[in-house]
């Protein structure tokens, strides 16, 4: 039997899902976190059930793709009982949705965010509410797991809900809704924008700047691999095992793992932003700007998520109400630098910037500009509608932040220990042995024979080198592979500043990893996802040539090229097509 968690976005369904079943559904203080149905087996009231966390919905016939997904799931399971999760402060307005989805089913109502409701002057009488609504009602906040399970189990014996209109009367008094002092500040552009840029600068500084926390922790991990473990590996007698460890795994895996502290710091700042409710305010403040490039403020959620993981960010686009905006946002996301690109950027920026902080900041800024340029280029005629409920402003909960951060770190280590390790083992084997399986130099190896023809890919940027091409294309599996492959095959990046910048631009602009391509395929279909990936990789190669040219002194010509292009994109008008039928066949005359 399935038990469905249904309710408005950001009501607390995923938090309840995790609390009841011990799951790890993604939770965040913004609307649209859960993008698909999550299922988990558990015991409820002595019975084995499947608890299902559905995406949030405002109305039964909702307009977003998430709402359609939830509606389809409900329709496919007409007899499944429902735990309707609702914020205390939103109970009255959620009743139409409750009766719409719960009619004909057994249901209970789980109320969340009670403390905030009472603090804002709201009042309710649970017994009276149960009497008026005809279903069990309980406050989920503050309950221990056993009590929570007992309350949730009431759904199995609850009466079947009949669709009707109900007035809450004296059972419920709504809380005051308005702008708090904090909200007045965070929705004022004169305060919020400088604060946002300050936070961003602080995050970058702490993570990337020399002698700051991220850099110090990275140095510690590097020292562990390059001095302690490498010294031990050098003493191994077997030449094959010594080559595997000292020349293979330690430089490549060590190179990737040394960035773990900085990736963790980046996720820490992202989690703070998600959890605080600041993202909703940012969406409100930036909607006018995003509308100018054909998106809307809602896209800010996906773009900010893109700094963590492109695949996860693509999935959040399901919360967008317009399919065309979704397609454009998905096309922009690969240019936003995800955490996996961080090792590559820091490795390469050391070649063209003395200060890694400035180099990384430049690449991040370039990625955002390219994402906006893509949005502008693909802008349509119509402005997508913008309607977004503000998530409550709150101080991030320390326990929640720690748990989420540890989960992200665990995911990264698992990825390194599986996909990336397998890739490096294969790369080492192919680059350390010839076709007779004898140890040899990389230039005589199987990998050199297979990939030799690729060396012309980056010849125009001063790198006629199959190793660089192999490292670049290894990013299609996982972006972390690029830095590791450079360490494995070249012992670092062996070329100058102009080539390093060109290579960084390629990594910035090329297709995302296979996980992101698969996520895009789920949203847009395989044909469009693969076409996007191919176009991005091809254009990334051309952009890397342009970047090399610019770095070598061609920057003086940039304004001559960019100014007319920008003017065209910003000022172009979309003319309606005029058709005149001829003998029954419509003929396109002009745009």
């Amino acid at each position: 039997m399935k038990v469905l968690l249904v309710g408005n976005p950001n009501a607390g369904k995923s938090t309840l899902f995790n609390a009841l079943g011990g799951g790890h559904a993604k939770v965040g203080n913004w609307h649209g976190v859960t993008v698909g149905a999550l299922e988990q087996e558990m015991t409820l009231g002595g019975r084995r059930v499947t608890l299902v966390d559905l995406p949030g919905m405002y109305a039964e016939q909702g307009m977003s793709m998430e709402e359609k997904a939830a509606r389809s799931y409900l329709a496919a399971h007409p007899a499944s009982p429902v735990i309707f999760v609702c914020e205390c402060g939103a109970l009255a307005r959620c009743l139409p949705l409750f009766f719409a989805v719960a009619a004909g089913r057994r249901a209970v109502i789980a109320l969340t965010k009670a403390k905030r409701f009472f603090r804002s002057g709201g009042r309710m009488d649970l017994r009276l509410l149960e009497k008026r609504l005809g279903v069990p009602v309980f406050v989920a906040e503050g309950l221990k797991k056993r009590a929570l399970l007992a309350q949730a189990a009431r759904v199995l014996s609850a009466p079947v809900v009949l669709r009707r209109e109900v007035s809450l009367g004296e059972a419920y008094r709504p809380a005051r809704v308005g702008l708090s002092r904090a909200d007045a500040l965070f929705t004022d552009a004169r305060f919020a924008f400088p604060l946002f840029f300050l936070l961003l600068a602080a995050a970058f500084f702490v993570t990337f700047a020399p002698h700051c926390l991220g850099d110090i922790m990275k140095g510690g991990v590097e020292a562990l691999f390059s001095e302690v473990l490498a010294a031990r590996a050098a003493g191994i007698r077997s030449p094959v095992v010594r080559s595997l460890l000292a020349e293979g795994l330690l430089p490549s895996l060590g190179g990737v793992l040394s960035f773990l502290p900085q990736i963790a710091l980046l996720f820490f700042f992202l989690i703070l932003m998600e959890e605080s409710g600041f993202l909703s305010r940012l969406a409100y403040l930036t909607d006018g700007f995003f509308a100018a490039v054909g998106l809307n403020g809602r896209a800010v959620f996906s773009l900010v998520m893109g700094f963590g993981c492109t695949a996860a960010a693509i999935l959040t686009t399901r919360g967008l109400d317009d399919r065309r905006v979704q397609r454009r946002t998905v096309a922009c996301l690969p240019y936003v630098a995800c955490s996996a690109k961080l090792p590559v950027y820091l490795t390469l920026s050391a070649s063209f910037f003395r200060n890694a902080f400035l180099g990384a900041a430049l690449l991040y800024a370039l990625g955002i500009l390219m994402a906006l340029a893509v949005a502008l280029f693909t802008k349509g005629r119509e402005e997508p509608p913008f309607l977004l409920e503000m998530a409550p402003l709150q101080l991030p909960r320390p326990l929640f932040v720690c748990k989420t951060l540890l989960f992200q770190i665990k995911q990264f280590i698992i990825k390194v220990g599986t996909v990336i390790l397998a890739f490096f083992l294969l790369s080492w084997m192919l680059s350390a042995f010839d076709w007779s399986f004898r140890l040899c130099a990389a230039e005589e190896s199987m990998l050199a024979a297979i990939c030799g023809g690729l060396k012309w890919l980056f010849a125009p940027v001063g790198m006629a080198d199959w190793r660089i091409a192999y490292a670049a294309l290894s990013g299609l599996v996982a972006k972390e592979n690029v830095a590791g492959a450079l360490a494995l095959l070249c012992g670092g990046f062996p070329y100058g500043a102009a080539s390093a910048f060109a290579f960084a631009v390629f990594v910035l602009a090329c297709s995302p990893c296979v996980s992101a391509i698969a996520a895009a395929a789920r949203e847009l279909g395989w044909r469009r996802a693969l076409l996007n990936a191919a176009l991005q990789t091809a254009s990334a190669l051309l952009l890397s040539y342009v970047a090399y040219f610019v770095w070598r002194g061609g920057w003086v010509l940039l304004p001559v090229v960019l100014a007319p292009a920008a003017a065209f994109l910003l000022l172009r008008k979309h003319h309606a097509r005029v058709h005149r039928p001829r003998r029954g066949d419509p003929q396109k005359l002009h745009r």
Binding site: G62, G89, V177, Y284, G288, L387
Partner: protein, 73 residues
């Protein structure tokens, strides 16, 4: 008048929503029902986005959406 013509701080009563069904349902789910009271809490400098509060929700809506909500002071 419509919501997009209101100034910051205006307290209005919703008369009718002239949007397509899906959008109208979403607006009603946020408390913008006929007869409900709404307050325009913030207006962006170029009047592109409005921050509106009803009895139970705080939400942002773009000017084109606000222009589809008929209100009276």
């Amino acid at each position: 008048m419509v919501l997009s013509e209101c100034r910051r701080g205006a307290r209005v009563q919703v008369l009718h929503i002239h949007a397509e069904e899906a959008l109208a349902l979403r607006l009603r789910a946020l408390g913008l029902t006929a007869g409900a009271t709404a307050t325009v809490l913030r207006v962006s400098p170029r009047r592109k986005v409005f921050l509106v509060g009803t009895e139970e929700a705080l939400f942002a809506l773009g000017a084109p959406v606000a222009a589809q909500v008929e209100v009276r002071p």
